[in-house]
Structures are given as C-alpha cells and as structure tokens.
C-alpha cells in the first residue's frame, strides 16, 4: 500500500474506508488505481484529450460516497480495464461497483437485458458493467443512467464480444441537467463478431463519454453511433477510438448533435488502422445542427492509417436548418416554431430510428420531443 506516498485527495478517506484491509487482487488493483488518481488528479484542459472539457467543477465539488457495494466480477476481465487512461478512469476503478452479465455460448436472448443506474442528490456513484458475450451468442444490452438530481456518475463498461457473437448495445444517458457524468466504454471484438451500439446523450451539466473499440481477430464489425442533444448550458463530449489492429474488420460511426441555447458539444473520433490491418473498412460521420448563435460544437475526426489496402472515410458538418425544408413545412400551414422542431426531430431520428426495441425507441422519441415541446403521436 502506497497511499501515504501520494497527495491526499478529498476521496482518500472514503477510499480507505471502502477498501478496508482486503488484500485480494481486485483490492490491489483498486489501490493502484487510487494511487494513480492521487498522483494525476482530474484531467485538466492542458491535457489534449480533455482540452474542450473542463472538469474543474467536478474536481472542486464534494460528493457523498456511501453504501458502496463492490459486487462480484471475474478478475481476468476486470484486469483488462485500462484504469490508467486518466484520473477519471482511475477514480472510477478505485470505487467501481461491478455488475456482470454473461451470455452463454450459442445462446440467443430475445428480451433486452437492462441495467438502469440512478444516483442520489449530491452523491457520487461508480457503476461498472461487464458484458461477456460468449462464442456465437446474441443479446441486446440496455445501459441507462437517469436522475433528477445534481450528482456525479463516473461509469465504466467492458463489453467482450467473442467469436461470432452479436451484441446490440444501447447506452442512454438521461441524467439531470445539473449532474456530472463521465463514462468509459471498452469493447473487445473477436473473429466474425458484431457489435452494434447506439449512444444517446441527453443529460448532464458536464457529460463525457469515451468509447474504445478494439478488433482482436478478423471479420469483426462495429457500429458506434450516437446522438447528443443539448440545451441550456449543457456540455457534452464524446471521444471515440476505433483500433483496427487486425485485417478485414469494418467500423461505422454516425454521430449527430443538436445544440440549442448556449450548449456546447464536442466530438473527437479517432480511427487507427495498424500496419497489418489490410482490408479495413472504416467510416465516420459527425453531423451537427446548431439551433442558436450561442451554441458551439468542436468536431475533430482523426484518422491514422498505416496500411494502403483500406477503405476509410470521414466527414463532419455543422449547420443550421435548411431554408427550403423550412419553407416546405411552412407552405403546408405548419407554424415556424413547430416546423423548426419537426425538422430537428427528423434530424435526430436517423439515430433513434436505429433502435429496434419499441419501448426504448418510444421513450427516446418522447424525450426528444419533450425537449422540442412537440407532440407527435402516430
């Protein structure tokens, strides 16, 4: 134990209480993670990866940490989580509460498997979800975060998609507009596997989602799609990193942003195509709709390609509502406010329409429409 060798933080007391005198491998990893956090602290805007997201309001705030439950998790999976990416992931791992679901080999589960995480006012929570899809299995995972209160959720998710397995993953972040939310998703894909994710970001005063996808064998395919819809002073940052380390894998990324008022969005999408990763097909698109002059978005595609035999494309747009589309709706008697909302809804729908579970789709439709103050039953 080296905690005494590093700076004391406002989390130290809680951590020492939580970890007690346990000495198993998990506890040792937690201690190492907490030490790492104690040394590096929360990332600052001087860190290139965090230059648009100022974590100071989070690091300055004090949250109550109570009733932590470690949960049970297979250590060989836990060990793979890269807690030392930054101070946030390290802090997460130190306190992580584990939730694990395993889809047995060659098993198809029709009903979606849901994890709903809530958080109390002024509390910090560190949920860590591990999804293990064994060979040839198929399932849909729904991971949602919601709350009505000012809280700090620092989440981690590991998804292991074994050979020929097929995972659909919906991640819905609907925290309160006063909440702080940071989440890190790590996905590992086996041969011929499919990972199809949709990441919806609606909540949080400061929200950040990092998603890392690693192809470990040929024939894997990943969809990493998402929507951020922000208003007021909300800030939402998505960093994705898709690592084509092996040949013949396919990745698709479609992220859309709708920004009103003084909100701010960030999208940073990295694609790595390693030297031997011939036959890679990687596509990325980020489209943003700015509904106010004070809203702002920073979008940055980043492709690093070390093989010639690849198909890669990326595109980013930042725009406003189309005049011709507006006029078309107006010419049908729809008032300007409703017309603008309808077009905005249509813009967001490309992502929401992907969702095949009717109840979740309806829920999100409603969330989007509520935000737009539109009632649109069909």
């Amino acid at each position: 134990m080296t905690a005494s060798a590093v700076t004391e933080t406002i989390y130290t007391k809680d951590f020492l209480e939580f970890i007690g005198d346990s000495g198993d491998e998990l506890a040792q990893l937690r201690r190492a993670a907490f030490d790492h956090f104690s040394v590096v602290g929360f990332p600052t805007v001087k860190n290139e990866e965090w230059k648009y997201t100022n974590t100071k309001p989070i690091s300055d705030a004090r949250f109550e940490i109570s009733d932590l439950n470690s949960g049970e998790a297979p250590i060989e999976r836990v060990r793979e989580f890269k807690y030392d990416r930054n101070g946030v992931t390290a802090l997460h791992f130190a306190f992580a509460e584990f939730f694990v679901v395993t889809i047995p080999a060659e098993t198809s589960i029709a009903e979606p498997i849901e994890f709903k995480f809530t958080n109390g006012d002024g509390h910090a929570r560190f949920p860590h979800l591990i999804v293990i899809a064994e060979q040839g299995s198929k399932a849909t995972i729904v991971e949602s975060y919601e709350g009505e209160s000012a809280c700090f959720t620092n989440a981690g998710t590991q998804v292991f998609v074994a050979a020929n397995a097929n995972i659909t993953h919906y991640r819905v972040q609907k925290e309160s507009p006063d909440a702080f939310h940071v989440g890190t998703t790590e996905v590992t894909l086996g041969a011929g596997s499919l990972y199809d994710s949709t990441n919806i970001n609606l909540g949080g005063a400061i929200a950040r989602h990092d998603v890392h996808v690693n192809f470990t064998a040929e024939g894997g395919e990943a969809f990493v799609d998402g929507l951020y819809m922000l208003n007021g002073y909300q800030h939402s940052d998505t960093h994705s990193s898709i690592d084509h380390a092996v040949p013949n894998c396919i990745s698709h990324q479609t992220y859309k942003g709708v920004l009103s008022d003084k909100s701010r969005g960030v999208f940073n999408g990295k694609v790595f195509v390693r030297e031997n990763a011939r036959g890679t097909d990687a596509q990325q698109s980020n489209k943003n709709l700015l509904l106010s002059n004070d809203a702002r978005v920073d979008t940055k595609p980043q492709l690093e390609i070390f093989n010639d035999d690849v198909k890669c494309s990326h595109g980013a747009t930042v725009g406003q509502l189309e005049d011709e589309e507006m006029f078309y709706l107006l010419s049908r008697g729809i008032n300007p406010a409703l017309a603008a909302n309808l077009l905005t809804y249509g813009f967001a729908e490309e992502i929401i329409n992907k969702i095949s579970i009717e109840s979740i789709k309806r829920d999100l439709d409603e969330a989007v429409l509520n935000r737009l103050h539109v009632s649109l039953e069909v």
Binding site: R332, I334, N335
Partner: protein, 252 residues
C-alpha cells in the same frame, strides 16, 4: 373574386422577374399559366406562397378580399393557399402521416374545427390516398425521402387532397412524370376540382392540359401576361411555339 393580382412586380436577389402581372381567378375555375423558361412562372408560384427569397417590389395581391402579401407563408397555407412544388423537398426522419396530420390539424385549429387524433386521421388519409392511387405503405415513410419523381408529385397531390385548399397552385406538376404517373396525378387533380376551389396550373408544356382541361389559358412572357384565351390557346401555342407569342407580343 378569389384572387386578384394587379400590376405585380417581383423578383429575387435584386433582379426583377415579374414586370406588371395581372390575373383574376374565381372559385370553380382552372387557369393554366404557360410560358417559356425564365418567363416568371415559378416566381409567380413562389411569390403567391410567400417564399422568403422572393421580394415583391410593387403591386397588389388580393385573396378573398385580403392583402395576401401581408401574411406569412404558414398563415397563407392555413387560409387555403396551397403550392404543389416543382421539386418537392425531402424531410428525413418525419413520416408522411405525422407531417400530414400536423399540417391538417394546424388548419383545423385555424378554422376552429375539431382536430383528428392519429387513428381518425389515418382513416381520413386512407380515403384521400385513393385519389392518387397511393399505397398506405407510403404513410410510414419519411416525407419524400427515397421517393421517385412520380411518387413525389403524387405525394404533393395527396397533400392537396388532405388540406383541401381554396386556391391550389401546381408548379410544373407534370415535369419529370412518365405517362402513367401523369395520368394518375391529373386524374387526382380532376377529382379535387370543384365549385369551391380554384386551381392555377403552371406549366411549360401543353401535355398536362390534355388531362386537366383549363377554363382559361394565360401566356406569360418577360414577366407579363402577353396573351389570354380559352383552352384552345394552349393547342395553338403547342403548334406554333413560344416564339409566336414573343413575336405577337413584341417581346424579345
């Protein structure tokens, strides 16, 4: 008098295109406005619908005794003015039925009549779709997205059927249609034609008028009506070409 246009001068981006246009339309009438490219046909359509890019320089447009130019595009639509677009716009993510029900209910609200819920509206829409032989599978699809040229034009006429305008302006509705689609669209318009509405057909070619018989034909050239007559004028024009009109009117 449903619509009276007096000495209308209008244009776009500082360029005057309509240069003193006069037109009178009564309920129960179908008027064809024909003219060569660049004569101002589309400008007239857009000005009547209130497109923000077009600017009226001078002149009067009176609709049901009101100054139409005073009203916003959506207000005009609720007052019963409808423009079928030459190039209908795609609206991704919004289904045809959502779109049409919103538009319909906006009009009902304006008229102080009862709005329809989704189920009621669906029945209403099914009936209207028969007018343009449109399959109900189109209701769920995004507005005009992935529609063929003919399907888009049929969708325009379906919107006209749903909104039941008093004044419908059909801007080059025949362009890009094959003969079957043209027949369906034209028959749809004929079914909607009544004593309570008026239709302005804006077209380059006489072809559409074989299917929809106009009461009056106006020839537009150089931003003015240069010749007027009955349906026989369209045939004469087809035979002699627009150069004949230009020669007759002394316009270049």
């Amino acid at each position: 008098m449903l619509l009276e246009i007096k000495d209308l001068h209008a244009g776009i981006e500082g360029r005057e295109i309509l240069k003193g246009l006069n037109l009178r339309v009564n309920k129960g009438e179908v008027h064809a406005i024909m003219g060569p490219n660049g004569s101002g046909k589309s400008t007239l359509s857009k000005v009547l619908a209130g497109h923000p890019s077009y600017e009226v320089i001078s002149g009067l447009v009176s609709y049901e005794g009101k100054d139409l130019l005073e009203f916003e595009p959506d207000e005009r639509a609720r007052m019963g003015v409808f423009l079928a677009f030459q190039y209908p716009v795609e609206v991704p993510g919004v289904s045809n039925s959502q779109f049409l029900r919103l538009a319909y209910n906006e009009k009902m609200k304006h008229l102080g009549e009862e709005e329809l819920d989704p189920l009621e509206f669906n029945d209403y829409l099914k009936e209207k779709a028969k007018i343009v032989e449109m399959d109900p599978s189109f209701f769920k699809r995004s507005v005009n997205e992935g529609f063929s040229g003919g399907e888009k034009k049929r969708n325009e006429i379906l919107q006209m059927a749903v909104l039941e305008p008093t004044l419908a302006i059909l801007d080059e509705t025949d362009s890009g249609l094959d003969i079957d689609a043209l027949r369906i669209v034209a028959e749809g318009v004929n079914k909607l034609r009544s004593e309570n509405n008026a239709i302005i057909l804006v077209t380059h070619y006489q072809r559409l008028l074989n299917y929809i018989e106009p009461d009056f034909v106006h020839v537009l050239a150089g931003g003015k009506i240069v010749k007027e007559g009955g349906k026989e004028l369209a045939l004469e024009l087809e035979e002699k070409g627009y150069d004949w009109v230009k020669a007759v009117s002394g316009k270049p």
